[in-house]
C-alpha cells in the first residue's frame, strides 16, 4: 500500500486540538452557523391582536445540552402553537424538535401523531419515544401496540387511511409530526404525504422534518394556504461536524482532498486525482460495457481489489467506523465477500457480538437459524464487517443496526436505504460508485442523494470532522464532480397522482370531492406559482414581436409562404428520387453527388437561403443493419442504406476524446475523407461519374481526387453539374412524383410574378420575418402551458378515471359509489381495480386457499427477476386469468382515455414468487422455500407481509358484500401465512 504520495492531503489530525467528546459542540460552534427563519401566512390572514397569553414559563422538556439556534427557533414556534417546517441535514438534530412537540402535547393533554415513511423507522422511533415518554403507541401494517396512547407512531399510509375511514384520533390530534417529509417527491408513495397533509384536521398543527430542500419556503406557503394557518420555516445548512470530501481514483492508491471542511473545492487536487486514474485498456472497456462495476468487484488477478485497499487504508488511518454505500444488493454482498481476509475486532468484541447475535436469533426456530443467510452472517459480523440492505431478513438487519450503533461493526456495506432514518453515523462514508442505475440507465448520483448519504459521515461530539470518499473509476468533468459534491439539495416537487382508491374514498363521503383534493394539492400549488412567471415571459416575447416592424409585411408573408411550399415540395420530390428503389442503381463508385452540409461559420441558416451544398464522390453503399435485422422479412427496397462518400471534412475531437466529423464545403479547409452518410443526406445525384484511383488510403490520392471534383465543378460553372433526370434517366413513373413536379413548376412561375422578390434586401427581410414567426409560435406554446396550468391540473385525468369507474360499475354517473366501488375502497395495498374484478369474477371462489394466496402474491411482488422459473401448470393457469383480467382493465382504461401502457401494466404482475408463496402457505419451512426461489430473503418476507395486508383488506371487502364463505377463506389464508420468521417481531419492540 502506497500512502506516501498523499501525505499532503491527509487531514492534520495531530496538529488540531482535540475536543473532548462530552463537550457539546453546539455551544462552541454557535457563531459558525446560522439558520434562516421565515413565516408563511395564509392569504388574508389577520394577526391575532394580542400574542398568545398562555406562555408557559416552564418548557415542556429540558435538554441536557444547549440547543442549536435552529432547534430553539423551531421550539419557540411550537410553544406559540404554530406549525413549523424544519429543513436541515440528517445529522443536525431534528429529532429534538419532534420530541419537544411530543412532550408539549403530553403536557397539554393533547394527542400527537408521529409519522415516518418506513415501518422499520417507525419501530425504532417507537422504542426511542417509549423509553422517554412511556405514553406511546405504535401502528404499522404489521403491528399495533396501545392504539389509545397519547403519542402514536405510525407509517404515513396508516395515517392516511385513518383519515379516510374516520377515526377518533383525527378529532383529538393537536400536533402531527411528519418525519422525512421530503419523501413527498417519491414517485410512487409521495402522493400519500400530500393527501395526508391536505386531509389532516384543520385545527391541528404540524411539524415537518425534512432534509435540506431549497424550496422549503414554497412548501410552507402551501401548508399555510391549505390549512389557513401560519407556517414557519426553519432552514439550516449547518452540519455539526464539518465534512471533508476525498476522491479515490480507481486503480490508484491515494486519496485526494477535493473539498475541505470549509467547503472549498480544490480544482488542482481534483485534476491530480483524475490523472491518477489508471485507465482501463480498450479491450477491458468494451467487455464491461454497461457493467461498470466489474473492475471494482473483481479486481485484477494477483492484486488486491480497490475496495480492499480502501478499507485497509481506512483502518490504518483510524477512519473507522465506515459505511460503504453501493447501489445494488448483490454488489453490497460481493464487496463484503472481498473482505474475507480482514479482521477488525478483538476477542472481547467478538464475544460481545456473538452474544448479541445469538440472543437475537433465539427468537427464531431452530430450522430458521439454519438459514444460510443467518449462519453465514455471524462469522462476517465477528470480524467487524456488516452488510445492510433490503434483501436481508428484517431481524438480521436490525441486529446489524444494533451492532453498528454499539460500535461493534467497523465496516458496513450498505445500500442507499441506510441513509435515511435513525441517527446511525460513522466517521467515514465511502461511495463505491459515482453512478447509479435508476431503472433505465446509469446516471451520476444527484447532489441531493450525495448530501443525504454523506450526512452519515461524522459522529457528533466524537469526530472532529466527517470524511467522505468518492471512488471514481472514470473520467468526470470537474463541473460534474463539483455539482455532485457541492451542489444544492434536490428541491421538493410534488409527485401527485390520482389512484382509483383515492377517488373512490373521496367520492364515498359526503364532503369528499376528488377535485377539492387536487385543488389543494402541492402539485396544483406549484403549477399556480408558475403562472406569473409565464405571463411575464409572454409579455416580453410579445413586446419583442411588436418591435419588429416590416414594410409590406403582407406581400412578404405571401412570398414567404410560397417559398415554404416550394421547399416542402422539393423535399417530396427528393424523397421519391432518393428512395433506395430508384437511386440504388445509380450509386456506382465515382458518381458525383451533392450533400447537405453545414458551413463552418455557425450561423443560423434561415429557411429561404438555399441549403449549403457540397459535392462528393460515391465510393460504395451498404445496407444499415437495424437492431432486429431479419433479412427475409425486410425487402431490399425498404431497408435503409448508408452511402460512403469521399468529400472534405473537418474532424473535431471533443474533450472526452470522441471524434465528431463534419462535412464542409470543398473549398474550405479540411481533410479529404471517406464518410458514411445516410441516403437521406444526399441531395442530388448528378449524371457524371469520375474515375477513382484504386487505392484511396494515401492522403495524396484522396486530395487529388477531390481536386478533380473541383475542376469538374468549375468546368460547368454557373449552370452547375448536369443532374440525373428523374423521368428520363431514372424512369420514375409514380403519380405522386408527377403531381409534385407539376406543382413545383406552377409555384416557380408564381415566383416570377411576385414583385417583392425583386426588391433589394429581400434576404434580410425574410430573415426578420422568420424571426417574427418563430416568436409567434413560441408565444403560442407558452400560452398553451399557461392555459393548462390555470385550469385544474389532472382535471382531464380525473374525468377519464371517473369514466372508467362508471364503465366498470364502481360508481354511478351521479358519483355515487356502488357495491363494487365500496370493495375497491377497501383495497389500498395492491391494484384495486384488478383485484376487485378478480374477486367479482369469482376467481377466488373455487380455488384452494394456497392457490389463492399464491395468485395474490403476483399483485404484491414488484422486483424484477430475470429468467425466473415458470410456475407449475395450475398456478400458471391462474396467473393467466390474472393477466387476462389485468389486460381487460387496462384496455378499458385506455378506451376511457386514461394514459396507460396496456402491456407494461399487464407485465407489472409477476409470477416470480408464486411457487415460493404456495409452498409457504402449504406450511413449508422458510429454508425450504428459499431453495426453490432465487429472490432475496428480505424481499420475500416483505412481499408476504404485504400479502397479509392485502388479505386483511379483502376480508373487509368480503364482509361488505356479505359473502361469508369467501371471508372465511381469506381468514384461513391469513392464518396459514402468518407464522414463523416471516412475521417475527421486530427487535425494537
Amino acid at each position: 500500500m502506497q500512502i506516501e504520495g498523499i501525505v499532503t492531503q491527509q487531514p492534520t489530525m495531530g496538529s488540531l486540538k482535540r475536543k473532548s467528546p462530552e463537550e457539546p459542540s453546539a455551544s462552541s460552534s454557535l457563531p459558525l452557523h446560522d439558520c434562516v427563519h421565515h413565516v408563511s401566512y395564509p392569504p388574508d390572514y389577520t394577526h391575532p391582536s394580542s400574542p398568545p397569553t398562555q406562555t408557559h414559563a416552564e418548557p415542556a422538556k429540558k435538554f441536557p445540552f444547549t440547543l442549536d439556534p435552529f432547534q430553539s427557533q423551531a421550539i419557540t414556534c411550537l410553544e406559540n402553537g404554530e406549525s413549523v417546517m424544519v429543513s436541515a441535514h440528517t445529522s443536525a438534530g431534528k429529532t429534538v424538535v419532534a420530541s419537544y412537540a411530543i412532550a408539549m402535547s403530553l403536557r397539554d393533554g393533547q394527542r400527537v401523531i408521529y409519522t415516518s415513511p418506513i415501518k422499520a423507522l417507525s419501530n425504532q422511533k417507537y422504542r426511542e419515544f417509549k423509553e422517554e415518554f412511556s405514553d406511546v403507541g405504535l401502528m404499522t401494517g404489521d403491528v399495533t401496540i396501545d392504539p389509545n396512547a397519547s403519542c402514536l407512531v405510525m407509517t404515513t399510509e396508516i395515517w392516511r387511511s385513518m383519515q379516510y375511514k374516520g377515526s377518533e384520533i383525527t378529532r383529538e390530534v393537536a400536533w402531527i409530526v411528519f418525519d422525512e417529509v421530503h419523501y413527498m417527491r417519491d414517485r410512487e408513495r409521495g402522493v400519500v404525504w400530500e393527501e395526508s397533509i391536505v386531509l389532516s384536521p384543520k385545527n391541528s398543527r404540524f411539524v415537518f422534518l425534512s432534509a435540506t430542500v431549497p424550496n422549503a419556503k414554497e412548501f410552507a406557503d402551501w401548508v399555510a394556504k391549505v390549512h389557513k394557518q401560519p407556517c414557519h420555516v426553519v432552514y439550516t445548512d449547518y452540519r455539526p461536524t464539518p465534512l471533508q470530501h476525498y476522491i479515490f481514483p480507481s486503480g490508484g492508491d491515494g486519496l485526494y482532498l477535493v473539498v475541505d471542511d470549509k467547503g472549498k473545492f480544490r480544482e488542482d487536487s481534483f485534476q491530480k486525482s483524475l490523472n491518477a486514474l489508471v485507465p482501463t485498456t480498450e479491450g477491458d472497456k468494451r467487455k464491461e460495457n454497461g457493467k461498470r462495476q466489474k473492475g471494482l468487484v473483481l479486481g485484477r488477478v494477483g492484486e488486491e481489489s480497490d475496495i480492499f485497499k480502501m478499507v485497509k487504508m481506512i483502518i490504518q488511518r483510524q477512519y473507522d467506523p465506515v459505511i460503504l454505500f453501493s447501489f445494488s444488493k448483490r454488489e453490497c454482498e460481493l464487496l463484503a465477500m472481498q473482505m474475507a481476509k480482514m479482521d477488525l475486532n478483538g476477542d472481547h468484541e467478538k464475544d460481545n457480538i456473538e452474544q448479541i447475535f445469538n440472543s437475537a436469533m433465539d427468537m427464531l426456530s431452530d430450522d430458521d437459524k439454519k438459514l444460510p443467510q443467518v449462519s453465514n452472517m455471524l462469522p462476517l459480523l465477528k470480524r467487524g464487517i456488516g452488510v445492510h440492505h433490503s434483501g436481508l431478513l428484517p431481524i438480521l438487519k436490525e441486529v446489524i443496526e444494533i451492532l453498528f450503533q454499539e460500535g461493534l461493526i467497523k465496516c458496513l456495506f450498505a445500500t442507499e436505504t441506510f441513509s435515511i432514518g435513525l441517527n446511525m453515523p460513522a466517521k467515514t462514508v465511502v461511495f463505491t460508485n459515482v453512478r447509479k442505475f435508476d431503472g433505465d440507465k446509469f446516471r451520476w448520483i444527484s447532489s441531493g442523494e450525495y448530501i443525504q448519504m454523506s450526512g452519515r459521515a461524522g459522529r457528533r461530539g466524537i469526530d472532529e470532522r466527517g470524511i467522505c470518499i468518492l471512488m471514481v473509476d472514470e473520467k468526470m468533468e470537474p463541473s460534474t464532480a463539483k455539482n455532485m459534491v457541492k451542489g444544492a439539495a434536490d428541491s421538493l416537487n410534488s409527485a401527485f397522482h390520482l389512484s382509483y382508491n383515492t377517488i373512490l374514498n373521496q367520492m364515498r363521503c359526503e364532503d369528499g370531492d376528488p377535485e377539492k383534493l387536487i385543488r389543494n394539492s402541492f402539485f396544483q400549488f406549484q403549477a399556480d406559482r408558475a403562472i406569473p412567471d409565464l405571463e411575464k415571459q409572454i409579455q416580453l416575447l410579445e413586446k419583442e414581436r411588436e418591435s419588429i416592424v416590416i414594410e409590406e409585411e403582407n406581400s412578404l408573408k405571401d412570398y414567404f409562404n410560397l417559398l415554404e411550399q416550394h421547399r416542402s415540395l422539393n423535399k417530396e420530390v427528393r424523397d421519391i428520387v432518393l428512395s433506395p428503389r430508384h437511386c440504388l442503381p445509380f450509386l456506382q463508385p465515382g458518381r458525383l453527388v451533392s450533400l447537405d452540409c453545414t458551413s463552418s461559420d455557425e450561423d443560423l441558416t434561415p429557411v429561404f437561403i438555399e441549403d449549403q451544398l457540397t459535392w462528393g464522390l460515391v465510393i460504395n453503399f451498404e445496407r444499415v443493419k437495424s437492431v432486429s435485422d431479419d433479412d427475409a422479412s425486410v425487402k431490399p427496397e425498404d431497408a435503409s442504406y448508408n452511402v460512403d462518400v469521399l468529400t472534405r471534412c473537418v474532424v473535431k475531437k471533443d474533450k472526452i476524446g470522441k471524434k465528431s466529423i463534419k462535412i464542409v464545403p470543398l473549398k474550405e479547409a479540411g481533410e479529404p475523407l471517406v464518410v458514411s452518410v445516410p441516403i437521406s443526406q444526399v441531395n442530388t445525384i448528378s449524371s457524371l461519374r469520375l474515375f477513382i484511383p484504386k487505392d484511396l488510403l494515401p492522403l495524396e490520392a484522396r486530395e487529388n481526387t477531390l481536386k478533380k471534383v473541383l475542376e469538374t465543378l468549375s468546368r460547368f460553372g454557373e449552370k452547375g453539374l448536369p443532374l440525373l433526370d428523374p423521368e428520363e434517366d431514372m424512369k420514375i413513373q409514380s403519380s405522386s412524383y408527377k403531381k409534385a413536379s407539376r406543382r413545383i413548376e406552377a409555384l416557380e412561375s408564381l415566383f416570377e410574378k411576385h414583385e417583392i422578390a425583386k426588391s433589394p434586401l429581400i434576404k434580410q427581410k425574410l430573415k426578420v420575418l422568420q424571426r417574427k414567426q418563430e416568436l409567434t409560435a413560441k408565444i403560442k406554446s407558452i400560452k398553451k402551458t399557461l392555459r393548462s396550468s390555470t385550469t385544474l391540473a389532472f382535471k382531464d385525468e380525473l374525468k377519464a378515471r371517473k369514466r372508467v369507474l362508471r364503465r366498470l360499475g364502481y360508481a354511478t354517473s351521479d358519483n355515487v359509489v356502488e357495491l363494487k366501488g365500496k370493495v375497491a375502497c377497501e383495497i389500498s395495498s395492491a391494484d384495486e381495480l384488478t383485484l376487485t374484478e378478480l374477486m367479482f369474477n369469482g376467481v377466488f371462489k373455487d380455488i384452494k386457499v394456497e392457490e389463492m394466496v399464491s395468485l395474490l402474491s403476483c399483485l404484491v411482488w414488484q422486483e424484477k427477476i430475470h429468467d425466473g422459473a415458470k410456475p407449475r401448470e395450475e398456478l400458471d393457469l391462474l396467473f393467466m386469468q390474472l393477466q387476462d383480467t389485468a389486460r381487460r382493465v387496462a384496455q378499458l382504461q385506455l378506451e376511457c382515455k386514461v394514459e396507460i401502457d396496456v402491456e407494461s401494466f399487464v407485465k407489472s404482475f409477476r409470477p416470480d414468487i408464486m411457487e415460493a408463496v404456495y409452498a409457504w402457505a402449504k406450511g413449508s419451512k422458510f429454508y425450504e422455500i428459499m431453495e426453490i426461489t432465487q429472490v432475496f430473503e428480505g424481499s420475500l418476507i416483505r412481499a408476504i407481509r404485504r400479502l397479509e395486508e392485502v388479505l386483511q383488506q379483502l376480508i373487509a371487502a368480503a364482509k361488505s358484500i356479505g359473502e361469508t364463505q369467501l371471508e372465511a377463506k381469506f381468514e384461513e389464508a391469513v392464518s396459514m401465512i402468518k407464522r414463523d420468521i416471516v412475521f417475527a417481531a421486530s427487535l425494537y419492540l
Partner: protein, 325 residues
C-alpha cells in the same frame, strides 16, 4: 294501489289507478321477473365461482333467497335487495338519529337499524373546536352536547367490535333543532352524492337521512370549520343551560314565514311517503312549488286531491324524462 291509505272518491281512484299503471309501464322491466320470496331458489346456471352475497344462502348446492326482494347481480355476485326492510347501514351514509341513551363516553342513537348506533364522544368535534384528548370533565358534560331525545345527524363510520359506529366529520353534523323530523320507509331514500340540501328560496334546510329519517328545519349558516374563529375559542363554552334567558329565546325564535315553509316541505315529504315515491330534492321542490302555485294551505297538501295530483305530475315528469332520453 295496494298499501296506499287514502280516502279517495271514485274519480280520484280511477285517476290514481291510471297514473300508477302509467308509472308501472314506465319502469324498467329488467328485474321484473327477479323478485323472490324466502326459500325461492335463484337460478345461477351452474356457473363456477358464484359469489353469494347478502340475502342468499347455500342449500344443498342451490342458491336460495333468505329475504323477500329483488335479485341483483354484479358480475358473479348474486344478492337479494330486500324490499321494505329496516335500514341497513353502509359506510359513508348520512343518517339522522334520535339519542336513546347517554352512556360512557358515547351516545346511543336510534337510527332505525336493528341495533342502536354508537356515537363516541371522541368522534364528535368539541364545541370549542380545540383538538385535544377528551377528559373526564368532558364526559361529565356530555349532556351539554346531546341529551336524550335530541335529534342528531351523523355519518356511518363502520362496524367496530362493539357495534355500528357513527362519526361527525365536520361542523355541519351534530344536533338538529328548530325543525321537524319525519320518518319514511328507508327504501324511499336513495343514496346520492348530496344529502344536505339548502332550499334557498324558502330558507329551509333539508337533510335526507339514508335511514329514512328526514330533517326539515330552519336554515343554519354552516360555520366553515376551516377557519377557526379566533374569538369563539377564547369564549368559555357555556356548560350550563338551566335558565333560558329572554335573549336566548329571542335568538331561538324562528319567524313565522319560515316555519310555514318548513311545514310545507315536511308535508311534501309526507305526500311522497304516502304515495310511496322516492324522496329526492327535485321532487320535493316540485311539490312545494305546485302547492304554492295552487295557493293551497299547508294542511290541504295532505288531502287526497293533492296527492293524486302529485302522482299525476310525477307520472308526467317521468314520461317526459324518458322521452328526452
Amino acid at each position: 294501489m295496494r298499501g296506499i291509505q287514502l280516502p279517495l272518491s271514485q274519480t280520484q281512484k280511477v285517476r290514481l289507478q291510471k297514473t300508477l299503471e302509467q308509472l308501472e309501464s314506465l319502469s324498467s322491466k329488467v328485474n321484473s321477473d327477479a323478485s323472490v320470496i324466502i326459500a325461492d331458489s335463484i337460478p345461477v346456471n351452474h356457473e363456477d365461482g358464484v359469489l353469494k352475497g347478502h340475502g342468499t344462502a347455500d342449500l344443498n348446492g342451490e342458491v336460495v333467497a333468505t329475504v323477500c326482494g329483488v335479485v341483483e347481480r354484479v358480475n358473479k355476485l348474486v344478492y337479494v335487495r330486500a324490499l321494505r326492510s329496516r335500514y341497513k347501514p353502509e359506510v359513508g351514509d348520512i343518517v339522522i338519529g334520535r339519542v336513546a341513551e347517554v352512556a360512557q363516553k358515547r351516545w346511543r342513537l336510534d337510527i332505525n337499524f336493528n341495533q342502536d348506533a354508537v356515537l363516541m364522544l371522541s368522534s364528535m368535534n368539541m364545541p370549542d373546536g380545540v383538538q385535544r384528548r377528551r377528559t373526564a370533565l368532558d364526559e361529565l358534560n356530555m349532556r351539554c352536547i346531546f341529551e336524550e331525545n335530541d335529534v342528531v345527524c351523523a355519518e356511518v363510520r363502520g362496524f367496530q367490535h362493539d357495534g355500528l359506529h357513527l362519526q361527525a366529520r365536520s361542523r355541519k353534523y351534530g344536533k338538529l333543532n328548530r325543525g321537524q323530523l319525519l320518518t319514511v320507509p328507508p327504501y324511499l331514500v336513495k343514496r346520492q352524492k348530496q344529502h344536505f340540501h339548502h332550499l334557498e328560496e324558502f330558507g329551509v334546510d333539508l337533510i335526507l337521512g339514508c335511514n329514512g329519517f328526514i330533517w326539515v328545519g330552519e336554515h343554519i349558516e354552516a360555520k366553515d370549520d376551516m377557519v377557526e374563529d379566533q374569538v369563539s375559542q377564547s369564549d368559555p363554552p357555556v356548560l350550563l343551560h338551566n335558565s333560558a334567558s329572554l335573549e336566548e329565546q329571542e335568538k331561538n325564535y324562528t319567524i313565522l314565514e319560515i316555519r310555514k315553509y318548513i311545514c310545507r316541505a315536511a308535508n311534501a315529504v309526507r305526500v311522497l311517503s304516502i304515495l310511496g315515491f322516492n324522496v329526492t330534492l327535485e321532487i320535493i321542490k316540485g311539490i312545494i312549488d305546485l302547492s304554492l302555485s295552487m295557493n293551497l294551505d299547508i294542511h290541504e297538501m295532505l288531502g287526497s286531491e293533492f296527492c293524486v295530483l302529485v302522482a299525476e305530475k310525477e307520472a308526467e315528469r317521468r314520461s317526459s324524462n324518458k322521452k328526452k332520453r
